[in-house]
Symmetry: none
């Protein structure tokens, strides 16, 4: 990614975070990046295209970070804990962008399909860890795919909770969340 593209990339994240996809304008992104509007179109096909690029890059980074952190771990539950920590960390630190993503998760536009695609790659990663846990006899081997979805759902709702309550103690949140995921609300 060359220098100008990086400028646009950063400016786009900032703008999409502040205003969401629809209210961000190419004018504003160009302004923030300190380049001319035409330059955006030299580096990207369209506004949609910028968004897709960001998403791709963003999820790639999460995956990399998770892979990096878990590669020497043996206990699958620790790996899941790492997923929680990393995603919570990221979601809370880039809360506004996380919300923009969630708002673009639904619908039939190109970027929205793309977003779902990269996310399902991420879900597969989670499912992989669940499978390992199941193989170790730590959890039931049932419905792993739906469990991966639920895992994500619980993480997301915890982020929303933290957002409303301005709770930023991630290790605390992570433990509560992991407790819920492992044992549910029962007892």
């Amino acid at each position: 990614m060359n220098k100008t593209k990086k400028l646009i990339f950063d400016a786009s994240i900032k703008s999409f975070s502040q205003k969401g996809f629809h209210k961000s304008t190419m004018d504003e992104i160009a302004d923030m990046a300190g380049v001319a509007k035409g330059t955006l179109y030299y580096h990207f096909k369209s506004k949609e295209d910028i968004f897709k690029f960001i998403i791709d890059e963003g999820v790639k980074r999460i995956e990399d970070e998770i892979n990096e952190k878990t590669k020497n771990m043996l206990d699958p539950v620790n790996k899941l804990r790492a997923v929680c920590e990393i995603q919570m960390q990221l979601a809370i630190n880039h809360l506004e962008f996380f919300k923009t993503m969630l708002s673009q998760l639904w619908g039939d536009e190109e970027r929205q399909h793309q977003l779902r695609n990269v996310l399902s790659r991420y879900f597969k990663l989670i499912e992989g860890f669940l499978k390992e846990a199941a193989d170790d006899g730590l959890i039931a081997d049932d419905n792993l795919e739906i469990m991966a979805f639920n895992f994500f759902g619980v993480m997301t709702s915890t982020v929303v909770y933290s957002l409303i309550h301005k709770e930023k103690d991630i290790s605390q949140l992570t433990e509560t969340l992991l407790g819920f995921v492992m044992r549910g609300i029962g007892r």
Copy 2:
């Protein structure tokens, strides 16, 4: 709600469901409702206003249905099961509108605040059932608010799963979901 307003109400739900909030146009809603564009503005202040009205009405209906169905139940877990069933049913039957709602859950527009407000009312209702369960010693009395959020998160991710896998057997989904909520993935 008089006849014309109902026509607009129905057309709006349909349009918002098919296209989402942003791609729905007042022209199209008017067309679908079989009224003139000006008529929309006779009954509603703005496009935003129509959306808010729909949300309000919609959540009211869920709440009513839940209250109706649970009022004679004694077991709090059954009440939570009813919540799951009713919401799953509704979300799956009105999948497109459910998605539109989720996409409008984030951001700083009037309608988005409003949506979060009515949803938090709904979360309180869930939290109430959790409290009952806790009082009966069925679940731990900890973090009930965050549990309510997670409950909703799990329901939502289950809907998403069902959407991808075109799984429409609600009682099956409900049981899996309830199992997850009660016991987590553990064992």
Copy 3:
């Protein structure tokens, strides 16, 4: 003028005064009058029609008042003084409506032609007094028509001055104005 028509008449003056012709809406006039919008159209052909009616009525009242007050006067200069006093009084007391009138004096719409017509009737009245003064040898017999226009122009600019400086001492203003009209700025 029956009761309902009077309600509309009063409300229209008020609305046109507060907002001018263009920003006054039939909705608002109806609201102010406490009648339904349809009722406006029972009594008047159009918004334009209401305006024309008001203008007609208003100028008629000035003329009546002037005729009443001057009919026993002998000195033409006193008559002109009366014109000044009455018009200044009215313009200052109904400043907002006076401004609305001035803004509608120009242009090719029906109401604007109509406004110019009733005003030229008023100018003729002034010219009549000037003629009397000329016949008495008090002023030169030249250009009486243009003098009548100028007379009005000076009155109007004096009103504008009083409006900016919030000067409301009418007799003072009248004397200054009459001085200007009689002797100009010379000496």
Copy 4:
């Protein structure tokens, strides 16, 4: 002012002159200028903004012309005569725009405030010449501000007269007007 902006400037004057501010539409201005509607918004913030720009430019030009023509004059009365000539000339040559201006002189919109502001600058210029005349003992030193207003009022009513009578002999009109201003109607 670059070429496109000039095109828009000219078209706007033409359109505002022909139809007034309210009945001029952005579509029409764009058509007249031979540019796309969006181009108007590239160069101006709004319709209001175009109007304000024109007013500003227009009054600037009058002032410049007056300053240019009077700078070598010694007799203040000659300077006032120059003001009359220049303004009459301009008002008569751009009668329609002059009328549009007069119709926009009243009211609370941005452009109307702006118009009054630039006009009061112009009045100050007139007042300056009156002061010079007063200092030379040619006229009384009283009420110079109100005299400046009246000066403008008389010029305007003379224009209106010339408009009705299709009288276009400016030097004739100027002398009559100056006579009125200097000596009033007396004798």
